[in-house]
């Protein structure tokens, strides 16, 4: 039996054991010192563009300073409603440039995006009584990621969904749907006057000792005790929580208190991120 393929997340960092140890020690300090002098809750600056693809219903492009770049395109189709089909109304596909499509990273990202947004998005996609929208979210990661792209993707999807518009329904609820062909009348999927209903986002959090770091780089992840992906909504509710592989430096897991601290910090940091996204969406 051939050994299973190693995930690309297990790929070691270019740092030597001595450098890793130095990094870990500086992150263990109180207050911790991160290599790029960020505070534990600061995110790296990002560049975002909205509505860049004319042939989609909504799209976004988002770039990290380390070169991570992702493009999200959203397309919608009308389909006949089926009973209990709410969870099947959203389809996500993630393509990581230069990697096979059964790569564990792509599988994880697809599942993570779906878990984060699908339950609530499904409810918004009704058309009348017998029809509903089916939304395809296609994500392209243009550069092989240097740091874990989970946050990047979720912010990109959030922005793309915010600028998604669906044609205006002009038929009655019980009829077969008929839409207005005036694109200017199209209705936004997430109206801008209800900021608290926006789709949830995933935050990447790493813990080293007692310290908790948001948006860790690959080097920080490789010395962390535990890396969690926490999906939070605008109200600070946790939608999903998953563990990611952390580096192989050191053994053992994390204390329950650290998990509790991560969860409690996510609500407030999440709120700040949502405010940032709001500003981006307003600036268009």
């Amino acid at each position: 039996m051939a050994p299973p393929q190693a995930t690309n997340l297990t790929a070691t960092t270019p740092l030597s054991p001595a450098e890793l140890s130095y990094l870990r020690t500086s992150l263990l300090l109180s207050p911790p010192i991160r290599p790029d002098a960020r505070s534990p809750t600061t995110f790296r600056p990002l560049t975002a563009e909205l509505d860049i693809l004319p042939s989609t219903h909504g799209s976004s492009r988002i770039v990290w300073p380390d070169g991570g770049e992702c493009i999200v395109g959203i397309k919608a189709e009308v389909e006949k409603a089926v009973v209990d089909g709410q969870n099947k109304r959203v389809e996500v596909s993630v393509e990581v440039a230069g990697q096979r499509d059964d790569d564990p990273l792509a599988v994880f990202l697809t599942q993570s995006v779906l878990d984060t947004i699908a339950p609530r998005l499904g409810e918004r996609l009704n058309i009348g009584e017998r029809w509903n929208w089916k939304v395809y979210i296609d994500i392209l990661l243009l550069t092989p990621p240097i740091s874990h792209p989970s946050t990047l993707l979720s912010l990109g999807v959030n922005l793309a969904l915010r600028c998604t518009k669906l044609p205006l329904l002009i038929s009655a609820a019980e009829e077969d749907p008929l839409f207005s062909d005036d694109w200017d009348l199209a209705k936004p999927l997430y109206p801008s006057n209800t900021p608290s209903e926006v789709p949830a986002i995933s935050l990447l959090v790493a813990s080293v000792g007692e310290n908790v770091f948001f948006d860790p780089t690959r080097e920080e992840m490789s010395v962390a005790d535990c890396v969690l992906v926490v999906s939070v909504d605008y109200d600070g509710k946790v939608i999903a929580l998953r563990t990611l592989e952390s580096g192989s430096v050191g053994e053992g897991g994390v204390n329950r208190k650290v998990v509790a601290r991560i969860v409690s910090q996510c609500a407030e940091v999440g709120r700040e991120v949502f405010e940032g996204l709001e500003a981006i969406a307003k600036a268009g």
Binding site: P17, C226, G252
Partner: protein
């Protein structure tokens, strides 16, 4: 009489009442109390060619899993240098494991997802620094997913997979910092936490836990929850995992005893 319609089967003249069936419950009614966990049976060394193996069953469910561990073995020469052991895990459903439709043999995304989670849960428990340039490969086969549930309960399967592979890794003689055991809880419609639920619930939480060190290696939650709710569920799940730990330890101990007494592994099925 000759005019009577004999080509059709006519209904009775008096009319009938339509049969009325009591509605079947959505999911089978659980007989166990909310705090109980179902008894677990684990037996080690049932796959002779593997370096270590274990088999797990859960009482009242037909869930059956077997895990085999190959390693520590050298990485292929083409693999890059690694100062730590490379732990890989693979979860595979047998084609006949699910009730109803046969499961395809090609690995799907669900299996890949479970595999990577299993790998994360085990990786931090293995003393990887002891085995440079080697690999530890864990293969879990789900022989039966437990047919009393209508949908496959991914939390139940992953919990069992973590427990069985923890024993199998230990059986292979790979050094670990502590045995891992996993437990999962759900929150029912009344808002009560149910340990080891038999049915799929909207809010669930799985924790893989090292009881002797009081450390968590993996958390996985599903469903919309407040922050405190997540913390509470993680705590109860860790406690549930702590209770399964007894079975995991016992399976390992049994193996050590049989080695000491008989000098060779006892592969007879008992219990």
């Amino acid at each position: 009489m000759a005019l009577a319609d004999r080509r059709r089967i006519n209904g009775p003249l008096t009319g009938t009442t339509p049969p009325l069936f009591t509605s079947t419950p959505e999911s089978p009614i659980s007989l166990k109390s909310a705090r109980d966990i179902r008894p677990v049976f684990i037996k080690t060394s049932l796959t002779p060619p593997a370096h270590g193996s274990a088999y797990l069953e859960i009482h009242t469910s037909t869930l059956k899993l077997s895990a085999s561990v190959y390693g520590p073995r050298p990485l292929p020469p083409s693999a890059p240098f690694s100062p730590h052991a490379r732990v890989t895990a693979e979860v595979k459903f047998a084609p006949f494991s699910t009730p109803g439709i046969r499961r395809g043999y090609v690995r799907d995304n669900f299996e890949r997802d479970l595999s990577s989670q299993l790998q994360i849960a085990l990786c931090r428990a293995i003393n990887t620094a002891k085995y440079p340039k080697s690999g530890v490969d864990v293969f879990v086969t789900i022989i039966d997913t437990g047919s009393n549930a209508r949908e496959v309960n991914e939390f139940e399967i992953l919990t069992a997979a973590i427990n069985v592979s923890s024993v199998a890794v230990c059986d292979a003689g790979v050094e670990m910092v502590d045995l891992v055991s996993a437990g999962f809880v759900g929150r029912d419609a009344q808002g009560d936490i149910v340990c080891d639920p038999e049915n799929v619930m909207e809010k669930m939480c799985l924790v893989s836990y090292m009881a002797a060190r009081d450390e968590i290696t993996m958390v996985w939650t599903k469903g919309e929850m407040e922050g405190e709710e997540v913390v509470k569920m993680t705590d109860v799940a860790a406690e549930t995992a702590g209770r399964t730990r007894g079975v995991v330890s016992e399976a390992v101990k049994e193996r050590v005893w049989s080695l000491q007494l008989g000098g060779k592994p006892d592969v007879k099925m008992s219990g």
